[in-house]
Amino acid sequence: MSDTQTIAPPFDIEVLRNEFPNISDTAASGRPIVYLDTAATAHKPLQVINRISEFYSKQNSNVHRGVHTLSAQATAYYEESRKEVQSFLHAESADEIVFTKGTTESVNLVAYTWGERNVGAGDEILLTEMEHHANIVPWQMLCERKSATIKIIPVLDNGELDMDAIDSLISEKTKIVAVTHVSNTLGTINDIATICDKARRHGIVSFVDGAQAVMHLEVDVQKIGCDFYAFSAHKLYGPTGVGILYGRKALLESMPPFMGGGAMIDTVTFQKTTYANAPGRFEAGTPNIAGIIGMAEAIRWFRKIDVNQLAAYEANCTSILLDTLRSIDNITVLGAAEHRIGIATFVADGAHAHDIGILLDEQGIAVRTGHHCTMPLLQRFGVQQTVRASLGAYSNQADVEAFGNALQKSLRMLQ
């Protein structure tokens, strides 16, 4: 639970791949699959799978209710998980960590609770052109309820945010800035510390969508200086259906509940209910206990890897991926940010993304096709349907080479 990390062993990709049954045991799925869709969801290491199975087979019980041993134990694991996340994000207090279903729920939680209280008619919400729909739609819904408006920080041709535009977009009406840490389509790593700093100096609340960041970068919410930070466990080598909302304590305490039910109350009478303090106030009902414990295990697994070694390894794979794509005629990769992670979204002249996806799939290569839940961003680049290849810690050079060859073959077939 402390911040002192064990000395990381040298990063060994073969050892790491062996920890992922879905990667190493290709016989299980019937045929080898080169998985280049980690940005959609990551595979899970055995350590996480085993932990979840152990919880259900040996420990299963509800949390925060009852004195019996199993319940007390489950509660202890549950609260330890919160501390694990706190330490992972370098939050000041474990009370700043709210368990949610995922990034999407985290955004909605803030839009419905903080937003309901603090955004009014004529107010403005500042987003960027590269947001995932999860960080657009809840704000639009809030704007509709409150007659507020959305302003957009533009994306430059190279896939970076137009940082110079921010000052002129901020006004007295701006109430919150919601920005993605890393673009799920361009791979761009945004300078969120600068954006959050600008926000703070204007008394504006900041929300960072970390869904694509936590599995690639060291995240320190205090250094970033954000008010809220959200991510999903399933992209961080953990289970689906769980995620995190980090919120500065004073802010969380000032927010009304999101959903009503068990566990989020202090006292209930038919006349009046008083609510628990944060974070319990935001965790109505029986939570995804096994998922939350699995998420903490995924973080423990992830933190055994030296994040700098991992970043260097991933950067190398990313440049091989980009070089592969750029060496193919007629392929255009969206964006060319200097600071990026292993995501490459591209279009091919004369070949539809959907056809490429089908033919890659026939060759055992899993990629994502479509708009990647960033329709405004694709519109900005003047494209509709794209192919996205994304890398995880377990991706290797052979994966990228197999992808390159299969892509060339697909393009030949589609000529």
């Binding site: 539809h352 089908i358 799939d361 479509g370």
Partner: protein, 140 residues
């Protein structure tokens, strides 16, 4: 050719092809059989719902036969559309409705198409049959 004969012929052709590349090349080649799609129908009104890539389908009834124009922006899907037109175009509404969806299985297409894609194919067939039902109702 009756549409059962067309299906039988397609089945023979596909089964004679030894590997997946040839089968895809064959499907793609069927795209060439489609008549040029009239641009005036390339609108949202004629989009088939439930397909991942855009598919347009226009139908009218001429002397008791359902005549269709169809197109897709993606090549493989366009080939599948071409195949559907060989089976369904210029047939009576009754013939269209009598063709059971089992032919997808017979052609081995469901094996080659992932869930998403075969449901796209199913959406197209459903749309064709809806047109047939509508035309039958008009003439009833």
């Amino acid at each position: 050719m009756s549409n059962q004969r067309v299906i039988d012929q397609l089945q023979l052709d596909l089964e004679s092809l030894p590997d997946w590349e040839d089968r895809y090349a064959y499907i793609i080649s069927l795209a060439d059989r489609l008549a040029p799609f009239p641009e005036k129908y390339r609108t949202d009104t004629f989009l088939v719902k439930g397909c991942q890539s855009r598919v347009w389908l226009h139908a009218e009834i001429n002397s008791g036969l359902v005549t269709m124009d169809a197109d897709s922006e993606a090549l493989i899907v366009k080939g599948l559309v071409g195949m559907l037109m060989m089976i369904f175009n210029n047939r009576t509404p009754e013939e269209i409705l009598q063709t059971t969806d089992g032919f997808i299985e017979v052609l081995g297409l469901s094996k080659h198409l992932s869930q998403n894609r075969s449901s796209g194919l199913a959406s197209m067939i459903k749309q064709i049959k809806l047109f047939a039902i509508a035309f039958m109702a008009q003439h009833a």
